[in-house]
């Protein structure tokens, strides 16, 4: 193996047998001998190969069922590949989630020891690191309290402090960022940067594009057990977004039989969506009845004759609130092309408390031509000052 490679995955496959009816008794197993196979095979990974270099932050993204967690579990040694080899050089953290092995009936002190040895430390090593772990978690005064009496935030803090102090050379992480309160998050991110400076290798599975873009040098996009793209994190994230757009279009009921050629050609792209209040400052939260200005940044890589911008507001539980487009509103979009963004101001938004995001589409003369169609990464929150239920806010009086 070359010296600068931390993980080498060579033509690894994994198939799971999913029984139609689980054979967990002897009788079923005995009867099963005479029956034809009653399981489905699910190819979680199909002969995939990739390398992770030493000191690299490597991201794995993809939709659910794409094989992200399966490959991570195989790197950890939890699953054994059906075929192919995985070579790891360097001490690897054998866990994927925080707080694995913690026992609620034990005190925090005992849990640090138990969790520590489960993560592969010796007792002596845990003893040496104990103070540092406790210090980092900021839980010194609760150290002899049983874990079951901890709040979930405190438990996560303890778990993260322990995990970060295991000091493996290669770290595997499955969506562990964004834990605890803001202060603690900051601390974690600082620690994360330190990892980078120390030249440690991190493999991070996430479907948070932002995290992958921000921290990873390289990334890999998995889809249906195959590597769709591998390379610089930004490129892979972009590919993932395009993929999601295409998937959205295929599933989408608002557009039938879309022509996806244009999306792939990247003739036009939506690059960002921002929210502003009346004073022109960026916001992520407004009150019911406030005005909100939605600014959509886009990029045309080629001149397009007939353009139609569409914008729709969704709540984060996927309820469709309102949608507009520039053709039905008879807007001449030419004026937007120079500044590469357009603003839509919604007046006194009558939405009830929830989180909202927007879907933005760039279409041609009819809705079969789609240049881009995305979900905004940014969301905005609406807070109602009333306590009433329902989706929207209506003025009313008791008579």
């Amino acid at each position: 193996m070359m010296d600068d490679i931390a993980i080498k995955v060579n033509r690894v496959s994994k198939t799971f047998k999913i029984p139609h009816e689980k054979n967990s008794t002897l009788k079923q197993a005995a009867l099963g001998v005479f029956r034809s196979k009653t399981y489905e095979e699910f190819n979680a990974l199909k002969k995939i190969s990739f390398d992770v270099k030493k000191g690299e932050f490597f991201g794995i993204i993809g939709r659910n069922g794409g094989g992200k967690s399966t490959i991570l579990k195989m790197l950890a040694g939890i699953y054994v590949p059906d075929s192919g080899q995985i070579k790891v050089s360097g001490k690897l953290s054998p866990f994927l989630e925080l707080g694995v092995g913690f026992n609620p009936e034990l005190t925090a002190r005992d849990n640090i020891f138990l969790g520590g040895v489960i993560l592969g430390l010796t007792k002596k090593e845990v003893r040496e690191k104990f103070d540092k772990i406790v210090e980092f978690s900021e839980l010194r005064e609760f150290i002899d309290m049983k874990l079951k009496n901890f709040s979930s935030g405190m438990q996560v803090r303890l778990a993260f402090s322990l995990a970060i102090n295991v000091h493996a050379e290669i770290l595997l992480m499955d969506e562990v960022l964004a834990v605890g309160d803001e202060n603690f998050q900051k601390k974690c991110l600082e620690e994360f940067k330190k990892y980078k400076e120390d030249g440690k290798t991190v493999v991070l599975v996430s479907h948070d594009i932002g995290v992958i873009e921000k921290y990873c040098d390289r990334a890999m996009l998995l889809r249906n057990g195959e590597i769709q793209k591998i390379g610089k994190a930004n490129d892979v994230v972009k590919e993932y977004q395009i993929q999601n757009t295409l998937d959205n279009l295929e599933e989408g009921d608002e557009i039938s039989e879309p022509n996806t050629k244009e999306v792939k050609a990247k003739i036009a792209e939506v690059t960002n969506v921002e929210f502003f209040n009346d004073k022109g400052s960026k916001v992520s939260e407004i009150n019911t009845g406030d005005n909100i200005n939605i600014r959509v940044h886009f990029k045309l890589n080629q001149a397009i004759e007939n353009l139609n911008f569409g914008l729709a507001i969704f709540s984060d539980n996927e309820e469709y609130y309102y949608g507009i487009n520039s053709i039905t509103d008879k807007i001449n979009v030419k004026k937007y092309l120079d500044k590469n963004y357009f603003d839509v101001k919604f007046l006194s938004l009558p939405f009830n408390s929830s989180n909202y995001y927007v879907k933005v589409g760039i279409f041609g003369e009819n809705d079969k031509i789609v240049y881009d169609f995305i979900d905004s990464l940014n969301t905005f929150k609406v807070k109602s000052l009333k306590q009433n239920a329902g989706l929207i806010d209506i003025s009313y009086e008791w008579e």
Binding site: P94, F95, V100, G101, E105, L114, V117, I118, T122
Partner: protein, 258 residues
């Protein structure tokens, strides 16, 4: 290797600590259990049926049998569950899976050692003449541990896929209890069954313990089996190897099946 030893000892101590966690008398219960069982059996077999006269120091004889049996019964049942009940851990962390049943069996073994202290105290109270034969006891302890571990490994691995093993083992334990000289002296066993019975490592070990601690007239395997006296030890070794290798073979798939 060293880290796995740390892991085993930490898990074993935790298991021991947690067993009576929250109960007022704590560890005392693990003494009380075999003692209560012993008292019940003692009452039945000296007052109702009279076995007591046929053997010198019958109470000690019975207590020793119940203690060793108790270890075997508890260890196999705890170990059988050790993989399944730690499913969450197995799906999320890698460590050699064999660590779990070893840790479970060790925490039960700690219990056995403490119980044996009580047995010794009892022997002293009864003024049993202790001889140099007690030097054999560590050998029997090693044998019972590895025999139990072998059985446990096999059960634990099978239990992941076939949950029927649970009740099946429950029935098997009842048969074994009466097929092993725990309550009765082996002089009561008809000759045609005696040899078969003494081939069992459990019978050999329990009789061996009694021989080492009590008196020479306890029938041992070597006395009963003659030149075949090696058989129980041979079986112990075979059971351990079978358990170990079948466990290791199935262990790779635990994370998927559990």
């Amino acid at each position: 290797m060293k880290r796995y030893l740390s892991l085993i000892s930490e898990l074993a101590i935790t298991g021991f600590k947690l067993k009576y966690n929250g109960s007022f008398f704590g560890y005392l219960w693990s003494l009380a259990n075999p003692l209560m069982y012993f008292l019940v059996l003692y009452f039945v077999f000296t007052r109702v049926f009279d076995l007591g006269d046929s053997i010198k120091n019958y109470p000690l004889y019975l207590l020793l049998g119940v203690t060793i049996w108790g270890f075997f019964a508890e260890a196999t049942s705890v170990c059988m569950n050790s993989i399944v009940s730690n499913g969450d851990l197995i799906r999320k962390v890698y460590f050699p899976r064999i660590v779990l049943p070893i840790a479970s069996s060790l925490s039960t073994f700690i219990n056995l050692m403490l119980n044996l202290v009580v047995v010794f105290a009892f022997a002293l109270v009864l003024h049993v003449d202790l001889t140099t034969k007690i030097m054999f006891i560590p050998l029997y302890l090693i044998e019972i541990y590895f025999f139990t571990l072998g059985v446990s490994l096999f059960l634990a691995a099978l239990f992941v896929k076939f949950r029927d093993i649970g009740p099946i083992w429950g029935v098997a334990m009842q048969v074994l209890f009466y097929a092993t000289p725990i309550i009765y002296p082996i002089t009561l066993v008809p000759d045609r069954y005696l040899k078969l019975m003494m081939v069992s490592p459990l019978a050999q070990i329990i009789q061996g313990f009694r021989y080492s601690l009590m008196s020479n007239d306890i029938g041992t395997s070597s006395g009963t089996l003659g030149i075949f006296a090696f058989l129980p030890v041979f079986i112990t070794l075979a059971v351990f190897l079978l358990g170990y290798f079948s466990f290791q073979k199935m262990a790779a798939k635990f994370a998927e099946n559990v």
